[in-house]
Subunit: 135 residues, 2 copies
DNA sequence: TTCTATGCAAAGACTTTGCATGCTG
DNA sequence: CAGCATGCAAAGTCTTTGCATAGAA
């Protein structure tokens, strides 16, 4: 994804385009991945971009609120940001902490219960926990 | 659930039987529910039992490691302990934070993808997020 | 120029830990 | 009586916030 494409993405959501947001997006959206705030911060440092921790949190919060990324709750210790914002599911390796995407077509789900009264659907998350050394 | 039944439950798992554990279990296992550590602490206070926060955390950790309760990760801010340890799923109201059980029979799940290499299944969690005032 | 983003450090929420004391087995 | 559980406070993580400065529109 080029800088211009990312800039357009931000503009479409009325998010102001800043150097930090461009660089964070570049890093995060580079490929399908699951990153914690600290990993993003480390990645920024590694590529020579200086950003504060607060900006990483603020930016990722804005990105997730605007559908650019998704958050994944599996680890009680920290939040993960998922660069794939389209609906999909996950394998979660409880031993290694590794998260692996499952394409939505690979999961067939049939819920035979109505939604709670006066609520509307907001999304479905399937997490398949696995144990082992992983690949 | 009587005190004796709970005591037997603890003994079977080789957990030593203490007054605090009996009372926490009595409170938590009273009915199907989802409680945070703070809610458990408040519940203990309300019933006139004095326990420290550390003991609540230690006890619930022991209980979850021994299959007496389950933990639910949906709220990035805190962990919930689910008094229903048998497999089941959840509705999660993102507006109110409310968690509602879904019996396992009500969910039919077919995953057409193999597990990651060298891993074995450890459980499946389906979380259906809903929005609204709730019932 | 006006409003929002950034950076830093401080504050906050939740959870864990260290250690002395008490209770279980 | 040996060993684990408890309580308290302190320490630790992750995340948010306050405020002054810098940058976007």
């Amino acid at each position: 994804m080029t800088r211009d494409e990312i800039a357009g993405l931000l503009e479409r959501r009325r998010l102001s385009v800043t150097a930090q947001r461009l660089e964070i997006a570049e890093l995060v959206l580079e490929k399908p991945q699951h990153l914690s705030a600290d990993q993003i911060l480390a990645g920024m440092r590694a590529r020579g971009s200086r950003v504060s921790k607060a900006t990483v949190y603020n930016t990722m919060k804005a990105f997730s609120e605007h559908g650019i990324v998704r958050t994944v709750e599996v680890d009680p210790q920290r939040q993960y940001y998922d660069s794939t914002s389209a609906p999909h599911h996950h394998f979660y390796n409880v031993d290694t902490g590794e998260l692996i995407d499952i394409p939505p077509e690979a999961v067939e789900l049939d819920v035979k219960t109505g939604l709670p009264a006066r609520t509307e659907p907001a999304g479905v998350d399937v997490v398949i926990r696995v144990r082992g050394v992983g690949s």
